[in-house]
């Protein structure tokens, strides 16, 4: 009898021990990270940091966010991740999120949060700085930089590059086009085609394109690599991949070149990276300042020069040899309609692409 009670007791004690064990592991390191943080950003700690969830890559964006910290005088804490995964995380966190600002790689992730009612409407003054087509209709998010879809071609092997994605289904390109069907940019492009030309036309194009045996790659970078090495003659990518590669290896060394699709072509879509302010955040003033900073000349010049993207707030020109945004054949499309990819995905599945 006595034995079994003592057994019970020790069982409980042991179970209780586990909890502090977990907690103890953590508190040690929490102290460590805090001291580390205070080393870098010990300047001011008035209202707590502005927490940004960034789906944009740290390599590209961290220097800009440092500038933001200086310009707005607010301490910034950034959580980097994948746009879609961060969006899922923000939805899971709900109104308890620690995030004040979401900096997403594409309009779709922002649209999903807007649709779920997780974003505050932005001030009209900020919204007005960007053309209507690059922001949410309900004002919950705004594009800060644009990426154009282009057709990359191998200049050794291709005499005249096509200027429409419609041409890619022609027999002369059979087996010669590289693309990344699981990539968000490609899927947004297909969604754009659906919005522009309807589901039936898109389904037909996908079927014909697939029948033309395109080569499948994981990422845009790999597509460009293949085009550059001549493994594929054409490739569907975003424009800045080429400019990054040119910056790294020298433009004159690249066999790959870019063809910007003609006016109104679904292949000429310009998608955006943008920001939204989370509902229930405790930093609305700082968040609004941050949004304005991202639309400022300093930040827009950064996008133009450092990430080779298109500045979306008026009046900034790129150092890189980019064709002007308004000379591109951007089709008229409401980017908010790129929010739902489900039908697109269904089509890609039907076509056997994903």
């Amino acid at each position: 009898m006595r034995r079994s009670t003592s057994r019970h007791l020790s069982a409980l004690a042991a179970a209780a021990l586990l909890v502090p064990l977990v907690a103890a592991c953590g508190s040690d390191d929490k102290g460590a990270t805090e001291s580390k943080d205070s080393g870098t950003t010990a300047t001011e700690k008035a209202a707590g940091p502005l927490v940004i969830y960034s789906g944009r890559n740290e390599e590209l964006i961290a220097p800009l966010l440092e500038k933001l910290e200086k310009a707005t005088g607010t301490e910034v804490e950034v959580r980097y991740g994948d746009s879609a995964e961060l969006a899922a995380q923000l939805l899971e966190e709900g109104d308890k999120t620690k995030a004040d600002l979401f900096f997403a790689q594409d309009a779709g992730a922002l649209g999903a949060l807007g649709k779920a009612g997780r974003l505050d409407a932005l001030p009209q003054g900020s919204l007005d700085r960007v053309d209507k087509e690059y922001r949410a209709e309900d004002g919950t998010w705004i594009g800060v930089s644009g990426r154009a879809r282009v057709i990359a071609y191998n200049s050794d092997k291709v005499a005249k590059a096509p200027d429409s994605v419609k041409d890619l289904t022609k027999p002369e390109w059979k087996g010669k086009v590289g693309y990344a069907p699981t990539n968000a940019s490609f899927q947004a492009f297909v969604t754009g085609m659906r919005v522009l030309e309807g589901d039936d036309a898109t389904r037909t194009w996908l079927k014909d394109f697939k029948a033309n045996s395109p080569q499948v790659y994981e990422k845009n970078g790999a597509v460009l690599e293949a085009v550059n090495e001549g493994k594929a003659e054409l490739g569907l990518i975003n424009h800045y991949y080429w400019y990054e590669k040119a910056a790294e290896e020298g433009a004159d060394k690249l066999k790959a070149a870019l063809s910007f699709p003609k006016k109104g072509d679904p292949g000429a879509l310009v998608n955006v990276a943008g920001v939204g302010v989370l509902k229930g955040n405790d930093q609305s003033a700082a968040a609004a300042k941050a949004v304005d900073f991202l639309l400022s000349e300093e930040a827009q010049t950064y996008f133009a020069d450092e990430t080779s993207e298109y500045p979306l707030a008026a009046g900034i020109k790129s150092k890189a040899d980019l064709p002007e945004l308004d000379t591109l054949g951007v089709p008229e499309i409401d980017l908010s309609k790129l929010e739902s990819l489900e039908v697109t995905l269904e089509m890609l599945r039907e076509a056997g692409m994903v």
């Binding site: 179970a15 907690a23 990819l341």
Partner: protein
């Protein structure tokens, strides 16, 4: 005399061969204890571990049923689910079979034959553990783009996961008392027959346990299949998140994965039967006489070299190439050091917690064969095939609601590692305990020691090397983990895996290479120790 023995490397997968012979395994540890009830403390501690492992399932249930069972059914009841099932199961079958062939053959060659430099080979056979599947897959596909698809995914997953079979089988081979084999030889069996009829059946629990880990790994892997563009359940779950940011369909698909896990675990425990491989002989292990290979030494060496070249040299060579080319290779020693230190810390904490939680489950699984023990063990495996991002979102969901102070703090990340990798440590603990002669425990009991004292003074010390090996293995897998780390790490904290992810995000492989190299180098230390480890 030597000729038939070298057919060992081509031995068919062990469970397939032995499944029909359940009677040959010594039931020394199982039968006698089936009826005995485990100490309550053990049950309680194991229940805590199992409950933690089941957390993601609660979330999956909540999310999947969010829009009613009808919606979940619609998501699952499409032709695509069938196709995904075929893809996932097919890949798992092929990878498990190949891993068994590689793992068992290399284990036998390195422990039982006069293979030149056996120790080096055993380290080399363990090292692929240190290579993350996404690094290996990228290395292969960048060299041979034609590999993409089923073949490439199967190749890469086999190469990175066969050590899960190699390690326990090699340990079992070292632990098996050679006396039985000698008796078989004395009774006129050739080396091959001895291997097949005496050794192989004793390897069954180790091989089956390793095979189970490989299968679960394949089901949950995202890196290799996504780079190889072979659509499995896990890849479909990721695509589902990315396409619609909608967690309900992803959860419904996750439930299917959990069901697959349950079936797998049940199948494995059937294959394993009640076998144990404890020595019943004298106290000290006697090394078996190595089998001379004769002329077949060369094919054996070629086999080992081929596996090492594909699993270790090739990915390392690719990393070296990335380091050498590309002017974006910016070494940031300070950052590298900081990230490396953080990675060491979180992986060590992850391994410590996982091992602590696995210990009671593993002991129960090995020593007490009741229904409760069985259920607890299976529960520990339940979440393992679920993709990391799902486990991470489950913990986000639960922590935000019920443990907010812990949210985005280190304990939660460490807990996620424990949930994700509990089976790795449970498997190692169970195998280690199974190899301890239960007779010693019986003696201790008969001398009046209580079950807990026996556990503390006899079982745990005897099993310690195996448990430590399990901890080392867990440490390595924690280091490589990516999706859960991305979502759950404290803001601003980086591990080598997340830095690697950041650098490859901009397609600057040269800049990613230092992180990949340091990751592989650090992970190689425990892997190296595991390769040299002798029980």
């Amino acid at each position: 005399m030597t000729e038939p023995g070298t057919r060992g490397p081509k031995a068919p997968p062990a469970p397939a061969r032995t499944a029909t012979r359940p009677d040959t395994a010594p039931a020394v540890s199982g039968r006698g204890r089936a009826g005995r009830r485990p100490p309550l403390v053990l049950t309680v501690l194991a229940s805590v571990a199992a409950a933690l492992a089941l957390l993601p399932l609660i979330y999956l249930g909540v999310r999947a049923l969010e829009r009613g069972p009808g919606f979940a059914r619609d998501v699952v009841a499409t032709g695509r689910t069938g196709q995904l099932l075929v893809h996932s199961v097919g890949l798992a079958l092929v990878v498990v079979a190949a891993s068994l062939v590689l793992g068992v053959s290399l284990a036998w060659l390195t422990t039982r034959t006069a293979l030149p430099a056996a120790r080096t080979w055993s380290v080399l056979a363990t090292l692929p553990l240190a290579v993350p599947s996404y690094v290996a897959a990228f290395a292969w596909v960048s060299a041979r783009p034609g590999l993409a698809g089923f073949g490439g995914a199967a190749l890469v997953l086999t190469l990175v996961s066969y050590p899960y079979v190699y390690l326990p089988v090699a340990a079992a081979l070292r632990g098996i008392d050679p006396a039985q084999e000698e008796a078989a030889r004395a009774l006129g069996h050739g080396p091959w027959q001895t291997f097949r009829r005496v050794t192989l059946p004793q390897l069954r629990p180790a091989a089956a346990g390793g095979g189970l880990l490989v299968a679960l790994y394949v089901l949950s892997d995202f890196g290799a299949v996504s780079i190889m563009r072979y659509e499995t359940f896990t890849l479909a779950i990721h695509t589902s998140y990315k396409a619609s940011f909608d967690r309900t369909p992803a959860a419904a698909l996750g439930v299917v994965l959990v069901l697959m896990t349950v079936l797998l675990v049940a199948a494995e425990s059937r294959t394993r039967g009640r076998a144990g491989s404890a020595r019943t002989g004298s106290g000290t292990a006697r090394p078996p006489v190595p089998l001379p290979l004769g002329r077949l030494r060369w094919p054996a060496l070629a086999w080992c070299s081929a596996v090492a070249a594909a699993g270790v040299l090739f990915p390392l060579g690719t990393l070296a190439y990335w380091l050498a080319v590309g002017n974006s290779a910016t070494w940031e020693p300070a950052r590298l050091l900081e990230t490396g230190t953080t990675t060491l810390l979180v992986a060590a904490l992850g391994a410590a917690l996982t091992t602590a939680l696995a210990l009671p489950v593993g002991v129960m699984a090995a020593r007490y064969r009741g229904r409760v023990a069985h259920l607890l063990e299976q529960a520990a495996y339940a979440g393992h095939a679920v993709p990391g991002i799902t486990v991470a979102l489950a913990l986000v969901f639960l922590a935000v609601r019920y443990a907010y102070p812990l949210y985005q703090e280190l304990p939660l990340l460490v807990l996620a590692y424990a949930v994700l990798f509990l089976p790795v440590a449970v498997g190692a603990t169970r195998a280690a305990v199974l190899q301890c002669p239960p007779v010693l425990e019986d003696v201790a009991r008969s001398l009046g020691r209580g079950p807990l004292r026996v556990l503390r003074e006899v079982t745990v010390p005897l099993a310690a090397p195996g448990v430590a090996a399990g901890a080392a293995l867990t440490f390595v897998v924690c280091m490589k983990e990516l999706p859960a780390t991305l979502l759950l790490r404290p803001t601003g904290m980086d591990t080598l895996a997340t830095r690697l992810w950041t650098e490859t995000g901009t397609a600057s492989y040269a800049a990613a290479a230092p992180y990949a190299a340091v990751l592989v180098l650090i992970a190689a230390v425990p892997a190296y120790l595991l390769g040299r480890h002798r029980t």
